[in-house]
């Protein structure tokens, strides 16, 4: 006991509060660039403002912005529901593809050999590619012009072309399909997760006669429950924010600034927010859209966590 007291009075004793000094930069950033903007944007969502004349010229309109968004007869509601539908379809499909294809591919290339290394590098390639550049690159294949690969093939086959990206309802499935190209990130995460599992478990199971699918479904996936939940939640958050791909694809159909494909074919919530705020200058409406995205994110993420805990698959206490 007395030795401990002596230690405390020696020179260079650890002052635990010094931690605040080190963490200070993040705290300043958090207060200034996260919390304050969050609250300001909440307030702005209840106003109508064109961004000029100082923030005091914002006109308080209560829930009018939100009412407009959810009323499909207004031009706001029309675009909003198109964007909402597209974004939800994309997010749900992206998570499914991420999960099924991501784990399958990671499982297929998990062993350390030359071939697998190369496969992993190739599959990871799109993750290293700028999203807008990727979208424009895909123009050469799935674009609406007659020179795109798909249209060339269709012309040779039955003399017609198809404008996938400008048809509402079709464009979003093009975006979903592009998720297959983006699987590298998920593959890498699952791959890292798989690498942490002890090989001996597999060997023991094999002696008991376990086949490949059993090893994957009964051993690997349950042991990766944490990683899977993490990927799904990140998938929800990033899926709901999808922007780059929509903007890139929209530009390749020649849509001008502020147009989301044609007939809102490429509308996503983020894209709509960008248009409303920075192209049309409707800051209040833009903020409202931002909060809608936030609330949907929260609901989805929490719902996911609750669902996963209920199935007993994974618990936060693990």
């Amino acid at each position: 006991m007395s030795a401990k007291l002596l230690h405390k009075h020696r020179r260079g004793v650890r002052n635990e509060s010094l931690g605040w000094v080190f963490v200070a930069p993040w705290i300043i950033g958090f207060l200034g660039l996260t919390i304050t903007p969050l609250l300001v944007s909440l307030w702005l969502s209840f106003t109508e403002w064109n961004g000029f004349g100082g923030i005091s010229s914002a006109e308080f309109v209560g829930l009018q912005n939100y009412k407009n968004l959810f009323d499909i007869s207004t031009k706001y509601g029309e675009s909003f529901y198109a964007a909402l539908q597209n974004t939800l379809i994309y997010t749900v499909m992206a998570i499914c593809i991420n999960l099924v294809v991501g784990i399958s591919v990671a499982w297929a290339v998990v062993k350390n050999n030359k071939v697998n290394s190369i496969l992993r590098m190739v599959i990871y390639l799109p993750t290293l590619t700028i999203s807008t550049a990727f979208a424009i690159m895909m123009d050469t294949i799935i674009g609406i012009k007659t020179q795109s690969l798909i249209n060339r093939l269709m012309l040779m086959a039955n003399g017609t072309t198809q404008a996938w990206l400008t048809t509402p309802g079709q464009a979003i499935w093009v975006m979903v399909m592009l998720c297959f190209w983006g699987i590298g990130g998920a593959m890498l995460t699952y791959f890292s997760g798989m690498k942490q599992i002890d090989e001996n478990i597999y060997d023991a199971a094999k002696i008991d006669g376990a086949g490949n699918m059993t090893l994957l479904l009964r051993i690997c996936i349950p042991l990766m429950a944490g990683v899977i939940v993490y990927q799904m939640i990140m998938g929800v958050v990033f899926g709901l924010q999808v922007f780059d791909m929509a903007v890139g694809l929209s530009s390749i159909v020649g849509a001008g600034d502020g147009v989301m494909g044609r007939g809102n074919s490429l509308a996503t919530l983020s894209f709509y927010l960008y248009n409303k705020s920075f192209v049309d200058g409707e800051m209040g409406m833009g903020s409202a859209i931002g909060w809608v995205i936030f609330c949907i994110s929260l609901v989805f993420s929490l719902g996911l966590l609750v669902f996963v805990q209920k199935t007993g698959y994974y618990s936060l206490d693990d």
């Binding site: 004793v13 963490v23 599959i123 290293l128 550049a133 780059d244 705020s277 994110s297």
Partner: protein, 284 residues
């Protein structure tokens, strides 16, 4: 395939199917890149034929020169590299600094800070983008690089978490030994912790660079002057040129190749070497 006991295992139907799936996927993924390079080298006449040749009879290598030098694409590349480099330098200093405080000190509220930091990782950026824009407008920072650089001074949650995990591996006894010798905490951070974090910091540097290089949302909002554009913005601008001239489209594809290929190859090589370095450091 050998098991631990050295017995050879017969590949089952299941494993073969998985392998085929991975190979097919890899080919599908690689194809657009190859197609892009091939298309970018075609002459205008070849491109507009009904059957697009794969190998051009007259590869237009000069087009790369046109795009890079005459159309001044090099400027955008330089801008992107500059912004990304600044952001990397800031991040590898600030984030470990914050991580040191969070992992080595037991101050009141430490857990709260940790949870809040975790929450910011899940926050959609769109909720805060408008007020941030207005804030920068008040400061007069619009249409400059400042809104893209200054946030780097406050650290990035993902990098902090990442470096914290690595710091856990550095034994606290080293800190204590240094303290007894009279070092203050800042010196401990600088001279003891940081040198041991080099492999982790390399990974952070790579990821920060990549994230910045790919980012198009923030530059789109804050930049107006085409001379300041980063690569994604210039590509979008070239895209709108395409409708003006017949050759415009092929030039766009050449620009894409320049934007995509060198960085991807570089990153693949660097990431492999970094990962090997991290594994080696981990084993120590």
């Amino acid at each position: 395939m050998k098991t631990r006991s050295g017995l050879r295992e017969k590949p089952t139907v299941s494993t073969v199917l998985f392998k085929i799936f991975a190979v097919v996927l890899a080919c599908v993924i690689l194809f657009p890149y190859i197609w892009l390079i091939s298309t970018s080298l075609l002459t205008g006449e070849e491109y507009y034929r009904s059957v697009q040749p794969f190998f051009s009879s007259d590869p237009q290598w000069g087009r790369y020169y046109t795009v890079l030098i005459e159309m001044q694409f090099y400027r955008s590349i330089f801008n992107s590299i500059f912004l990304a480099a600044v952001s990397v330098v800031l991040n590898i200093i600030v984030s470990p600094f914050i991580a040191y405080g969070l992992s080595r000190f037991r101050f009141k509220g430490r857990y709260v800070v940790f949870v809040l930091m975790l929450c910011t990782m899940f926050l959609p950026t769109q909720v805060t983008s408008i007020p941030k824009f207005l804030f920068y407008k008040e400061l007069g920072w619009l249409y400059t690089y400042l809104p893209l650089i200054v946030p780097g001074f406050f650290g990035a949650a993902t990098s902090v978490m990442f470096t914290m995990a690595f710091m856990k591996n550095i034994p606290k006894e080293m800190d204590e030994a240094a303290m007894i010798d009279g070092c203050n905490h800042f010196r401990i951070w600088l001279s003891i912790i940081m040198p041991q974090m080099v492999p982790a910091l390399c990974l952070v540097a790579l990821n920060t660079f990549l994230g910045n290089w790919k980012n198009s949302q923030a530059p789109l909002i804050y930049l107006r002057d085409p001379e300041m554009f980063t690569v994604p913005l210039t590509l979008l601008k070239f895209q709108s040129n395409d409708s003006l001239a017949e050759v415009g489209r092929l030039q766009l594809y050449a620009a894409l190749v320049i934007a995509i290929v060198p960085v991807s190859v570089l990153f693949l090589i660097l990431q492999r070497r970094m990962n090997k370095g991290v594994e080696a450091a981990d084993l120590k």
